[in-house]
């Protein structure tokens, strides 16, 4: 699929709706009544599961063939560094910047 600006525009509009619905409706509903416990308990695990899946896709899955790859060594090492930095500093900006610097330096060394 080749994209032009009109299609990008529609993607943004659709994206707006899928981003807006989960932000608005719980807010509207639950300012008026109670949250069901099971829903909360389940939703708690969605972010962690999704983010892990996305990280696995970035590091271990080839973006064209969708085959498992184990060759992005600089990303793997940088990922470990990011986890340690995030755990210690709890700062989003520092984690991202150190991640970028380390993947840049590592890719020059490992190639």
């Amino acid at each position: 699929m080749n994209w032009n600006s009109t299609q990008h525009f529609w993607l943004i509009i659709l994206g707006f709706f899928v981003a807006f619905i989960p932000r608005f409706f719980p807010l509207m509903l639950f300012t008026k009544r109670e949250i069901p416990e099971w829903f909360n308990e389940w939703m708690k695990f969605v972010p962690v599961a999704l983010f892990t899946a996305l990280v696995v896709k970035d590091i271990f899955i080839d973006s064209e063939s969708y085959q498992f790859i184990f060759s992005k060594y600089s990303e793997m090492i940088a990922a470990v560094i990011v986890v340690v930095v995030a755990y210690r500093t709890r700062s989003m900006a520092i984690s991202v910047i150190i991640g970028l610097i380390s993947v840049f330096l590592l890719s020059m060394v490992i190639a």
Binding site: W10, V18, P26, L27, W42, V48
Partner: protein, 267 residues
């Protein structure tokens, strides 16, 4: 600014105008949005978004994760439906954030809730949740101002990133790692007991398997549903039968001072 540094817990000046006191609360977040917004703008430009659309997507979707995801999925030519579906699952976590803010926004008009929901995201949620929980004078109005400050910094950084992207040649492989790093950061912030780490591992294995089987990013959606359900059932079962299990022990973290803000996301 520098004068405040030595004693940041100074009693706030009662005459300080509201726009300035809320800006002071929002400033650490605003500053951290600059590098990430720049990286995001550069990637969106590389994915084919023009500067105007980059500004629009930052205003309307206003989510780092979602915008990075759009950029990567466009560069690998994913179909529209697949991107929107992925976005839906990525943004589903906001259901949790907005539910947990709802007790503090009781009695607000639907119009206010609409405007509030549009500019809600992970980071300004963390700030507002903490302020609502600790500061009795913190109302919807102040919270909305914090949201708008962060939205402004985010959108401007994205637009500047898009302009940088069109002016310079940048190694995208490296910038792309900003997304991976951002997700890794968010995972670390979500981890609160040993069980969460197990769920991470399960999710990672399922994600790889599902993507190899479906040969598309739909595998991500499937693995997210499976792994979150496994987590839900494991925790419910453990709490019922083995409430003292070490899998439920809370993990402590260094950087405890700042973590108060981020840890509120767990609630």
């Amino acid at each position: 600014m520098n004068k405040r540094r030595p004693n940041p817990k100074q009693v706030p000046d009662p005459d300080e105008p509201l726009w300035r006191s809320t800006l002071r609360v929002a400033m650490p977040l605003n500053l951290s949005y600059i590098p990430i917004g720049l990286a995001c703008g550069i990637l969106l430009h590389a994915a084919g978004f023009n500067t105007l659309l980059t500004g629009l997507v930052s205003l309307l979707i206003f989510s780092g994760g979602a915008q990075f995801l759009i950029a990567t999925m466009l560069t690998i030519n994913s179909p529209l439906l697949s991107i929107v579906l992925m976005l839906f699952f990525l943004e589903l976590r906001y259901a949790l954030l907005s539910s947990s803010l709802s007790p503090y926004l009781k009695g607000q008009s639907n119009r206010f809730l609409f405007i509030f929901a549009v500019s809600l995201n992970d980071e300004n949620y963390a700030i507002n949740y903490l302020k609502f929980a600790t500061d009795k004078k913190w109302t919807g109005k102040e919270a909305l101002m914090v949201e708008h400050y962060s939205l402004l910094f985010w959108a401007v950084s994205n637009v500047i990133g898009s302009l940088i992207g069109s002016a310079l040649k940048i190694d995208l492989g490296v910038v792309n790692f900003a997304l991976t790093a951002l997700f890794l950061y968010m995972i670390v912030m979500q981890i609160k007991n040993r069980l969460t780490i197990v769920i991470c591992l399960i999710s990672g294995v399922f994600a790889a398997l599902c993507m190899m089987l479906t040969k598309s990013t739909l595998g991500l959606v499937i693995s997210t549903i499976i792994a979150s359900l496994i987590g839900f059932f494991l925790e419910t079962t453990l709490k019922k039968h083995l409430p003292d299990s070490h899998w439920l022990w809370k993990l402590r973290s260094p950087g405890a001072k700042k973590s108060v803000v981020e840890n509120t996301e767990d609630n």
